[in-house]
């Protein structure tokens, strides 16, 4: 399922690259997540090791970066394949023990951006178009736990899982034309991953599993980002 979604995404991307009118987008922002079981695992680590002066913080926010393209597929409808990268880094330094969690999160997604004419917010200076975004894609999470710069082992194997998940996304944004070829767009995007396998994260961090921890996590993720778009062709996004 996850593999076929990824393939579908890649196929659609290629098609899009070949046929669509191109706008190149880059963006940066913040990603907010509250993975309940991962954070409970971190709580368990702090609770069970009260001799440590510095607690391990919970997984909450991280910077995120991305790039993609978008092209017109119909009046007010755009297709935007994007790739994004988020990195959650947490650490607790308690000399001589330094623990670090590093979760790299890569996502490929295909979005349908819809610009309803009902919501035109043009001012005298700027052309402003709110839009709605829906889509989906594949996520790849790479959680790593290191103690004193050494990857931890679980059951005598280095803990380096690759966790795949599919995701569904919805969001809202507002595209503002700065010049004839350059737009910016603040966007809030919600990603839903219904079933992410935690792959022994509790064992990696705590050495055991707590009874109230599940193997699977339903992840809700919000990303707020500011996108900068350059129109490679002078196809006015606002007139389509």
């Amino acid at each position: 399922m996850k593999k076929s979604l990824l393939n579908l995404f890649l196929f659609a991307s290629i098609l899009h690259q070949v046929n669509a009118q191109r706008h190149v987008n880059i963006y940066a922002g913040y990603s907010f997540i509250n993975p309940q079981n991962w954070n409970r695992t971190i709580e368990a680590y702090n609770f069970s090791r009260p001799w440590l002066n510095n607690s391990l913080p919970q997984i909450r926010t991280a910077k995120t970066w991305g790039f993609g393209t978008s092209g017109v597929i119909g009046k007010g409808f755009f297709l935007s394949p994007e790739f994004s990268f988020t990195r959650y880094q947490l650490s607790a330094i308690n000399t001589p023990v330094s623990l670090a969690i590093d979760i790299k999160w890569m996502r490929g997604a295909m979005y349908l951006d819809m610009y309803p004419r009902e919501f035109q917010l043009d001012s005298v200076t700027y052309t402003i178009r709110p839009f709605f975004r829906v889509g989906g894609g594949a996520s790849c999470l790479l959680p790593r736990v290191r103690i004193n710069n050494e990857f931890v082992n679980v059951d005598d194997e280095t803990y380096k899982p690759i966790i795949w998940s599919y995701q569904l996304s919805a969001g809202v944004g507002c595209r503002i034309a700065l010049t004839k070829r350059i737009d910016i767009a603040p966007v809030v995007l919600y990603n839903f991953m219904p079933n992410v396998n935690l792959e022994d994260f509790s064992y990696a961090l705590n050495g055991t599993k707590l009874p109230n921890l599940k193997d699977d996590e339903r992840l809700n993720n919000f990303i707020f980002f500011m996108s900068l778009s350059v129109r490679l062709k002078n196809d006015n996004i606002f007139e389509n």
């Binding site: 997540i33 509250n34 309940q36 954070n39 409970r40 709580e43 368990a44 609770f47 069970s48 090791r49 009260p50 001799w51 440590l52 308690n94 001589p96 023990v97 309803p116 009902e118 919501f119 709605f132 829906v134 103690i147 931890v152 082992n153 679980v154 059951d155 005598d156 919805a170 969001g171 809202v172 919600y190 839903f192 022994d200 064992y203 990696a204 705590n206 050495g207 055991t208 599993k209 707590l210 009874p211 109230n212 809700n220 993720n221 919000f222």
Partner: protein
């Protein structure tokens, strides 16, 4: 036209309506410990690893704790002799198993310079020859069988759903009989028992859950117990010694614990961390009686005898790289006590569990030592073992230890799935911890006992 526009605007609002509830639900915190955790009075019964650690965690959360210890000392199955050698000799728990555990983390934080990894070679006794693993695997006659044996040991966590004794499994497999004592030493003795007492399904559970790693660590210059003394001094200060419990009455809203001296203690919750043998012999009366599932678990899980003997020699007769000597008939495992430690002395520790311990316990201490020296003479025919024996030894039979009565619990034939029942709390008033209640694969270890301590502490705080 305006109405149509309004309707379309409302329609666009639907996705926002779907997203917002998720936004709020994802912000909600499902914490490990309730926002208003329990803050009453807890009595912990037993001052071993799990009891002391659980008490410390509870005290950190503001809980009023009293620890009742039946014997005249703290530490349970952790006990060190500091006068026999120029380093502490562990008479009970000795190794730190694996790197990924709360105990390793404690040692790495408290005493990193004392934490040493065992790096020596293991030697195996097979067909009247003592050989290291490399040598054993390079012997063309047995190489295939030895490799099969190691693969078999590695795959115990994926054993099929058929319950039988480990000894029977080895016969059915089949594994050549001369390798059975090595399996006994590497698996059964390590779990505190013998091939003919270990049940395959329970062993599978334990092996499948064991995740802390196969590395083995020791403490150089300090004892196990000193880690606990350093980190959990607050809980140790709450221990009442020589206060064996006679009854635990949990029929009312508060729990009444009465000692054999007639002293009554009351608490909102009680954590029972006593060894399995003490639960088995009904030394403590529970009022009302424990539920049938709990009683069945107590009866199904077994705990065997265990003897540790440390013998002093005037000079070594073993290979200088030796860590352990495995597979002999009287003592399944000897190890070099001072391996990776700073010492001027030469010591071997005999680690004898299960049936071997029961047999050796029939002899007097001196007779047992003679048996061991005789066996060592067989293992090292050119070693002059008898003449190098200093005449000094330390002998500890854990089956005779009051209020403990054995080594540790092992995966017995009918114990698969029972440890969770043993661990389960009763009426949010009675909680259970201790190595035997570890159903996550780390039974029979100190870090396993500690894990049950924090599992129980969380249960108590959230109940």
């Amino acid at each position: 036209m305006e109405r149509r526009k309004l309707l379309r605007q409302l329609l666009w609002g639907i996705p926002v309506g779907i997203v917002l509830p998720n936004l709020f639900s994802s912000c909600k915190k499902e914490a490990l410990i309730d926002e208003t955790p329990f803050a009453g009075k807890v009595i912990v019964i037993g001052a071993g690893a799990s009891g002391i650690y659980a008490a410390h965690l509870l005290m950190k959360q503001g809980v009023d704790v009293t620890i009742l210890e039946a014997s005249n000392r703290i530490g349970g199955r952790m006990m060190a002799n500091t006068s026999f050698a120029d380093f502490p000799i562990e008479m009970g728990a000795e190794e730190i198993h694996g790197k990924r555990s709360v105990l390793y983390d404690l040692a790495a934080f408290v005493a990193p310079e004392n934490l040493v990894e065992h790096t020596g070679k293991d030697f195996y006794w097979m067909n009247n020859l003592l050989r290291d693993e490399q040598n054993l695997l390079s012997q063309s006659e047995y190489a295939g069988e030895v490799e099969t044996m190691f693969q078999l040991i590695d795959s115990l966590g994926t054993y099929p759903e058929e319950n039988k004794l480990l000894s029977q499994y080895l016969v059915d497999f089949p594994l050549i009989p001369s390798l059975h004592p090595i399996v006994n030493a590497l698996v059964a003795n390590e779990y505190g028992s013998s091939n003919n007492r270990i049940g395959m399904l329970a062993l599978k559970e334990a092996e499948a859950g064991y995740s802390s790693g196969d590395e083995s660590f020791g403490l150089n210059g300090i004892s196990y117990w000193q880690l606990f003394e350093y980190a959990f001094s607050d809980a140790i200060g709450k221990v009442v010694l020589n206060e064996a419990v006679k009854t635990i009455d949990y029929s009312g809203s508060i729990v009444r614990v009465k000692s054999i001296h007639g002293v009554e203690y009351v608490a909102d919750r009680v954590l029972v961390t006593i060894p399995l043998t003490i639960l088995k012999n009904n030394s403590i009366e529970f009022l009302p009686a424990l539920p049938s599932e709990k009683l069945q678990a107590i009866q199904s899980i077994e705990m065997g005898g265990g003897i540790k003997i440390t013998i002093k020699f005037t000079s070594p007769f073993w290979d200088p790289d030796t860590q352990s000597i495995l597979g002999a008939s009287i003592v399944p495992e000897y190890w070099v006590t001072a391996a990776d430690k700073t010492s001027n002395g030469f010591y071997l520790t005999a680690f004898i569990m299960g049936e071997s311990a029961d047999n050796l316990a029939l002899l007097s201490e001196n007779a047992a030592i003679q048996e061991l020296l005789s066996e060592l003479s067989t293992l090292y025919p050119n070693g002059n073992v008898q003449s190098l024996f200093s005449g000094e030894f330390l002998y500890k039979n854990w089956a005779n230890e009051p209020y403990i009565g054995g080594s540790y619990s092992y995966p017995s034939i009918n114990s698969a799935g029972q440890r969770e029942n043993l661990a389960s709390s009763i009426s949010n008033k009675l909680f259970f911890a201790g190595e035997a209640t570890n159903y996550d694969g780390h039974l029979a270890t100190v870090h396993g006992a500690m894990e049950t301590g924090y599992r129980a502490a969380i249960e108590i705080l959230n109940a």
